[in-house]
Symmetry: C2
Subunit: 365 residues, 2 copies
């Protein structure tokens, strides 16, 4: 544990008329120091980087008065301990995926991504203007935390597989490291899901403790080296069509902040949110070329597998909504938006992108 | 003109040791009041709203010390005058589309959207992590302005047409209101392009001064009432695959700001940037249903038309790059990224979205 939090007001407090003339400044720029635990290792500059984008923006906006020290996974607590660490105020903040905590309650899965959920843009629409973030925060309140979207990866890849899988039968018995809620769905099809943080995936795959593993996409995956021990790189990662990382803050600490610092944090979180997707979209195109150059074999999940997984996901949601009110309420909001959003997105965005993709394949872009 | 700018430092300056102990706070929270001219009318809460999102975030982050008064198009200057007004410091800021100014130099078109350019996510990747924003700001410097991305619309619709157009021949002689750089391409195919700000489009279409018009997409277009006077709603708007609005600041005024205020502005611009796309994606799905319910006929541009337009766009770029160094440099950066990005986006994002769209059409989402 490295608990180093202190909150003190600056020495600027002035009495009498001066205080009346300048209350905002005197009251609003206290020195605040927070510690943030990231769910990710420093080596992954994309997903780890979201926290440093936030910390730097907050520091600059406050002339260094509000400092957030960013610590990598494992330095203070391991990834699965991040939420409890924020809840108990061991750290004041975390930057991680809510779905790592679906074991506490499956509702946590919805904050990041659920199988066959929203894509990256739709996720933002639902969070910011579809009531999604308010619904998630009503739920997070029970854990004494408040969350803000803090980065999206886009649709992830479907992971690294040692053997080709063509049919649903091929999935049976495969020990597969999968993020978040994918395991709950895949286990219905015979997969043996594994929950392993980023730094431990490669050794497990190398030793054969697991048969397949997914992380995010080409840029991160190339860094983690999976291509050296598994040849087939599948897509799409249907369990994470637009996975969102979050900033979580201890609710009492959040409530103690001056309104201006709350505004700065919220704004900086939004910047980190758009910045991470932009970074992934900037670096993944080069990485996928590099991987293919190294002999990686790209494979698309077969229609049979996708259809079976879609059905298994819906069966999973039916079971959970029957017994979990919080999940039901939030899932139904997301589902209603998803149907409308995918009607709309195939009209102009979809036809535009499909036309441009066809030009790319024709070599004329 | 309503020129009301003043910049004054707060009355907090203290001498001697106190000043040394608290320089950041004393120096960094001056009262600043800026005026921003929007390129859009207040009635379009989506695209006009980006400026109010920024102004509110900046005010909250500074406890009201940095105020940005947002004025609608025409209140101070009309839309085409926004850039000159910022350049001359009549206003300190504008929130508008750079491509409204392509008459000064076609390079301005690239900041918003060029025909068959980047989609919304790719646009952010290129701006933030592909050198796009730096390249555009090198160019904007010549106009004494600095720009930050401040909202995207997604792929726009292809506008409202009184008659069906099926062939390239059908385009000949059509007087079409089109944003930005579309006219330069469409005129090669016989279209007579018209440049008209939002509030004046409907009367022109109603009176028959023009034959067809495009604005953005379902939500804005429904408000502007085009469906009452033109029945066919085409897609995709290939001239704006991911149109980006910008915040422009007078460069001298920007340079005068304390570093903390610059950081706050930059962060707030990024929030407004992601927020506008999220809002469009939240409201457009409902609006497209509403429009179809009112009898609007959706039509996809034919492959013949799209192919001819793509060729005409490339011919246009070849002509301009041969004689405009600034355009050439920036266009080539965008083009290189576009080819890579559309290779990548068809792998996992593309297959995920296409699978989900198929589910939507099957009625199972």
């Amino acid at each position: 544990m490295d608990r180093r939090k202190f909150l003190k007001t600056s020495g600027l407090a002035a009495g009498g008329a001066a205080a009346l003339a300048t209350p905002a400044i005197a009251q609003s720029a206290p020195a605040v120091k927070w510690t943030l635990t990231s769910g990710f290792p420093k080596s992954l500059d994309t997903i780890f980087g979201g926290a440093t984008v936030l910390a730097q923006a907050v520091s600059e906006a406050t002339d260094g008065q509000f400092q957030i020290e960013v610590r990598a996974t494992g330095e203070i607590v391991p990834t699965p301990g991040a939420l409890d660490a924020v809840k108990s105020n061991t750290v004041q903040a975390a930057h991680t995926c809510s779905y790592y905590h679906f074991g506490k309650d499956p509702t946590f899965a919805i904050g990041t991504a659920i199988p066959f959920g929203l894509n990256s843009r739709q996720q933002q629409a639902w969070f910011y203007h579809g009531g999604g973030n308010e619904l998630m925060n009503d739920f997070y309140k029970g854990y004494n935390i408040i969350g803000f979207p803090g980065g999206n990866t886009g649709a992830q890849m479907g992971g690294w597989w040692r053997k080709e899988i063509n049919t649903v039968d091929d999935l049976k018995g495969v020990k597969f490291r999968a993020g978040g809620f994918a395991g709950a769905v895949l286990s219905r099809l015979g997969v043996v899901p594994q929950s392993i943080p980023a730094p431990d995936i490669y050794p497990a795959l190398e030793k054969g403790t697991i048969d397949a593993a997914e992380w995010v996409g080409p840029y991160d995956d190339e860094k983690l080296g999976f291509y050296k021990v598994a040849k087939y790189y599948y897509y799409p990662g249907w369990w994470e069509g637009g996975a969102n990382v979050h900033f979580f803050f201890n609710l009492d600490e959040w409530n103690k902040l001056p309104k201006s610092y709350q505004a700065i944090l919220k704004t900086a979180a939004a910047m980190a949110n758009i910045d991470m997707q932009a970074k992934y979209d900037a670096v993944n195109p080069t990485a996928i070329r590099s991987l293919v150059g190294k002999g990686v074999e790209l494979r698309q999940f077969s229609p049979e597998i996708l259809d079976a997984c879609f059905k298994a996901a819906n069966d999973t949601y039916a079971e959970i909504t029957a017994k979990n009110e919080a999940f039901k309420k939030i899932y139904e909001s997301l589902k209603a938006y998803r149907a409308d959003a995918y009607l709309w997105s195939q009209i102009t965005d979809g036809t535009y992108d499909n036309f441009m993709m066809a030009q790319q394949r024709s070599g004329v872009l």
